[in-house]
């Protein structure tokens, strides 16, 4: 066989895989939806969807599960981005679930709407009859995810059963389901946090400003830094101070910690992430910034 010297770069290979997955979902499921949080992973997902389906419109709507306690910068970004793309946005509101009595709001300084999102999401999936929900979760985020499939099956109750996963071979995905069941699909399963940042830099994607170092009012809790906001009650000893921080994720304000950082540009963030991932054999263990970042990885709980 003749030999070509050209191969795909790792980002091209990951991109090609993700596009392939999105197109399979569109082709094999009747009512897919793309979940969008306004965060960096879902921003990458939007770009991948553009690459998969342009110049046509996406063959699915974009859905945000809005806790009502999101960073205002993120909501502004969401609305603008979806409008620029001229796509359809569905907002599933946790506030509405609370008002309807579907879930009960927690109270006190540790109250978070994070867990409430699951009910809102499942209700929305049922209401709209979605049979496939694509999300930007990655296998490097947590150990359990490392063995979750790219096409992950949920029964009639939205539950994942790790015992009954289908084997996934080659690029041949089995997207068949029965009535009432749906699948979660993770097209960027195999990407790492660093890949996501490199891709954002490579594609020159715009991100909400909170991803970059900026000064704001914050307070410390459990060794983490949180943004001051009307949504979060503070304990009496939790004092506000100003600091230069950036956020690595953009979840609910009540549970999204920031890191002290001066990385104000994409390039600086990529460099910082690369350094965070690859700590010097534990010798920099005392480095606050690094361990904070690592901790945030663990704390990250999504409705996915």
């Amino acid at each position: 066989m003749s030999v070509t010297r050209r191969t795909l770069s790792h980002l091209d290979a990951l991109e090609a895989e993700a596009i392939h997955i999105m197109r399979e979902v569109a082709a094999e499921r009747e009512r897919p939806v793309l979940l969008f949080s306004g965060g960096k992973d879902s921003i990458v997902m939007l770009r991948l969807a553009e690459k998969a389906f342009r110049p046509a419109k996406f063959p699915f709507p974009v859905m945000h599960v809005d806790t009502g306690h999101n960073f205002p910068e993120v909501i502004e970004f969401r609305d603008r981005r979806v409008a620029e793309l001229n796509e359809r946005l569905v907002v599933a509101s946790v506030q509405e679930s609370i008002d309807k009595g579907r879930v009960v709001e927690q109270t006190g300084p540790r109250a978070s709407r994070n867990q409430l999102q699951t009910t809102t999401l499942l209700d929305a999936i049922e209401e709209h009859g979605f049979d496939a929900a694509m999300g930007g979760a990655r296998r490097d985020e947590e150990r359990a995810r490392a063995k979750e499939r790219i096409f992950s099956f949920r029964d009639d109750f939205g539950q994942w059963n790790p015992r009954a996963q289908r084997p996934e071979l080659w690029n041949l995905y089995n997207a068949r389901i029965r009535k009432g069941e749906h699948i979660r699909v993770f097209p960027i399963s195999n990407w790492t946090e660093l890949d996501v940042w490199q891709y954002i830099a490579h594609e020159n994607l715009e991100l909400p400003k909170i991803y970059f170092a900026h000064e704001r009012e914050v307070f410390r809790r459990d060794g983490m830094i949180y943004a001051a906001s009307d949504f979060v009650e503070r304990f009496p000893d939790e004092e506000l101070f100003r600091a230069t921080v950036r956020f690595r994720t953009v979840g609910d304000m009540s549970c999204t910690g920031g890191v002290m950082s001066d990385a104000a540009t994409l390039e600086e963030v990529v460099t910082e992430i690369a350094a965070t991932r690859v700590t010097e054999r534990g010798e920099t263990r005392a480095d606050d910034r690094v361990s904070e970042a690592a901790m945030e990885d663990r704390k990250r709980v999504g409705y996915f």
């Binding site: 080659w170 660093l194 991932r277 010097e280 663990r298």
Partner: protein, 422 residues
Amino acid sequence: MTSPDLLNSELLRLVTAGSVDDGKSTLIGRLLYDTKQILVDQLEHIEDASRRRGHDYVDLALLTDGLRAEREQGITIDVAYRSFVTPRRRFQLADAPGHVQYTRNMVTGASTADVAVILVDARQGVIEQTRRHSYIVSMLELPHVVYTVNKMDLVDYAEERFDEIARDLAELGAQLGLHDATMIPISALKGDNVVDRTDAMPWYAGPTLLEHLESVELAGDRNVDDRRFPVQWVIRPMADEHHDYRGYAGQVAGGEWRVGDEVVVLPSGARSRVSAIDGAEGGEAIPEQSVTILLEDDVDVSRGDLLADPENAPVVARELTARVCWMSERPVEDRARVLLKHTTRTVTARLDEIVSVVDISTLEDRPSPGRMELNDLGVVRFRLAEPLCVDPYARNRATGAFIVIDEATNETIGAGMVVDAS
């Protein structure tokens, strides 16, 4: 700088295999640790756990401990995927730790892998498991295999012992027709020849495992001779500005595609020529790229069709002979009705005959078994209700592979590799 160069670094997919206690967890932990992928909190966690277990060293096997804990709880684990990166390459590792379901899991992990890393215990040498793993690697047509002869510290780092095992492995490789087999003496526990070189084996002049993985030549592995493009999705904007746009989206399954290339649409046989390729730099698409192909003529093309080189087209098959790995708890018998998903096309098929099943300990075929059970590897003849456009798997992994689906339960129950078609 630890972040790999954007344009020049390639993605290498590997699968690891070894029998229990060969040191696979330790080796993976060592790879991650010595390439500095371990987050501070992960390291603290395993340092604590090692101390609690009374070790005076950090037990790197604990890094993959999540899976082990589950194994002890009796939860089915199959394939876990991990990523790591060096300045030279981005790696993705599929690890199949289960042993009961071993064959099924390794077939799954190997299906997407470029390289298999097979562990051999230096004290035991080539054992039945080694043959089984090597057989799967050859069946899945992995372009490269590395045998890491582990625990060299327990055989006094003896050159003679390594040479003896390497000879047996070379013989096995020749018997199975492995493409590119390399043997490396290591100690995962001590870190010899995994990432860093060692003084313990001055007689070994070859690369460390990581050096080898960083330099394996991938460019020749994809089929660039036979143009194949399974149509996945038809893009029709139906908006005024793109009124006439009709693009065929998919992932290149073979060959290099350029504007002007002659095209035959299969199975219909219609002919046209490539007028544009969207999503490919320089208008040229290579294997594995996801692109959109536009044709000069208004021919009828839909999902499940295959675009190919008219001078070198695949077989439009109604009958297939294929190697099959059975993946379901429920056995299958001659005459069963199933679905086959091949590229972007799913068809109904009948298992006309299970021709043979291999005896994994002797690697010999048992003819006409009448049925296949979970983890069996066999040869099966299928009859198809509608045609599939296939190549032999040995020639093209993308157009030679299919999965078997149970019509009633929707489960994926088997994996197939085309040997012959008509």
